[in-house]
Symmetry: C2
Subunit: 325 residues, 2 copies
């Protein structure tokens, strides 16, 4: 007699119970050794992988619905930064035995919502046990017209620096969840738990270089500058902050600029496109239009990375990681 | 001043120091948000992901050179089981702070050897910290002529069952490393640490179904049978054992048949191809020819999974996981 699902080895039953509903056609019902996927003809693939660890990237108290969505969205943000369209994703889990089955039900329900939002399906993966914290690793596949991927390299001195959305909400949201800060609006914690990947942002033909902001705006401007052998000036007061972030007060500006967990897009715009974007600083994404803000300009490399205040005075931060510039 | 490598944030310096030498052209020097990869024209992609956890899939005492190679080879084995050609791989690491930098030097040196052997390059990945054990997650991309991927489904009653190489060495090797068994040849521990993925095995046009053997031969025959709604008879004495495995004695047969960690290929062959393969039971792989052995036959589903001894008597194992058949 062929055993019913309930008699399957635990791992297989677990996969079928929770993940089969997420699987797209490439996944072969998650019952094969690998996914088989026909890439879109005439396009390049864009591939990224990110891992998240319990207590490092998410909190045990976070709603399970948002944990998987955050991981998927971080990867979608990597694709968005390259101007790529999502195609599919794979997930590996190293699970401690202490996590209840219902946690994974909610985890997958959250992922199901995001699959609909971003039109993407699970292709495959692996589950294993661990005596340590939950570790999730997600690989995302996207596609792009050959030659149209926007990279970190390509920016030049004189290009302006832009960001999507608002900066610092995720970092402040973590402090709210840690009890270090209050935010009655709930906006900040929500942004920490559910970043808004700017999938579909039309970077090709506009941006000379782009990257997603995950390590903190100042650090990531540093990465972009280093990759292009330029310096940068960031105009502190021009960095867009949400109302909830502004409400926290100026003592939290450093956290906003250096805290990370933004998953917004940092991009450089050559002078010939700058005026047009400045006139109408809104760009479309698959989740709707997003405001973009000019926050600075790329300079000669010997200038390093400078953040300036309202009166042009340099702002020095303890934790920027780039004070040696 | 642009900082030299040594001033980079720790994670970036770590990635450049250890992984840049493994990166292929798609990896964009590991300095972008994602890899950009032109898939081979007119081929389907085959994608698999596997995770390995310290103390679950490898031992802290294992030589670091073999740990990464084992993970890569397990994934290569997934591709081999589908008849796919390796194209590239991504790696995420969740690293405890206690692992020395030199461990990763050796880890990557091992991977470098396997990249040469299997003609494949690193495309990208992610590193993060953890307070738990080391968790490695690898995603592999391969390619196949459309329609030629060999799947777990496709086998029929009457097809013969075959395996590559020898069965049980990995499971016995683990017991050797745990001090439960001795093997002066070193063969068994070596097979545990370095599986031999049968990349290039010409399954298309020969096998009706295939999968890699990782959970134990009997369990995996059960999976293959279940996916095809058939039963199976396995002829115990026909299961190929290495000299080192035979030397352990018959009391270790159960471990060989149910222990896992084989990373050989289990495949079914329709009657019309069986005679020819039986005449010359050797198949080519990229690492040279490999002997294949007929170990049984697929039966009507109501027969379940039976393992028979030398005189046709049923062999009953405690740990087969399939005694309810």
């Amino acid at each position: 007699m062929i055993p019913p699902l309930s008699d399957l080895p635990r791992e297989f039953a677990f996969i079928k119970r929770h993940f089969l509903a997420l699987a797209g056609p490439a996944a072969l019902e998650l019952s094969d050794d690998a996914a088989v996927y026909t890439p879109p003809a005439g396009r390049d693939l864009v591939v990224a992988a990110d891992a998240m660890v319990e207590n490092v990237h998410f909190l045990p108290s976070d709603p399970p619905e948002t944990v998987g969505r955050k991981l998927l969205r971080c990867n979608l943000s990597d694709l968005a930064a390259m101007g790529a369209k999502p195609e599919g994703w794979l997930l590996t889990l190293a699970c401690p035995k202490t996590i209840a089955d219902s946690w994974f039900t909610a985890f997958c329900n959250g992922l199901k919502q995001d699959q609909l939002l971003f039109n993407v399906h699970l292709m495959g993966g692996d589950t294993t046990s661990t005596r340590g914290p939950l570790v999730l690793s997600l690989t995302i596949l996207g596609s792009v017209v050959p030659g149209q991927a926007v990279k970190r390299r390509g920016a030049r001195e004189g290009d302006s620096l832009w960001v999507t959305g608002t900066i610092g909400d995720g970092a402040l949201g973590l402090r709210v969840l840690q009890g270090k800060l209050t935010d009655s609006s709930g906006h900040l914690a929500n942004r920490y738990r559910l970043p808004q990947p700017r999938v579909g942002l039309p970077l090709h033909g506009l941006a000379s270089a782009a990257m997603d902001i995950s390590d903190g705006l100042l650090q990531d401007v540093g990465h972009l500058a280093r990759e292009n052998n330029v310096g940068a000036v960031i105009w502190g007061p021009q960095v867009p902050l949400s109302k909830a972030a502004q409400h926290c007060g100026p003592q939290w500006l450093e956290t906003c600029l250096t805290g990370g967990d933004d998953y917004e897009i940092l991009f450089s715009v050559p002078p010939q496109y700058d005026a047009k974007l400045s006139q109408n600083p809104v760009l479309p994404t698959v989740l709707g239009p997003v405001a973009v803000h000019k926050i600075g300009v790329l300079t000669a490399p010997e200038k390093g990375i400078q953040t300036l205040g309202a009166n042009g005075e340099p702002l020095i931060f303890k934790q920027s990681g780039w004070s040696h510039f």
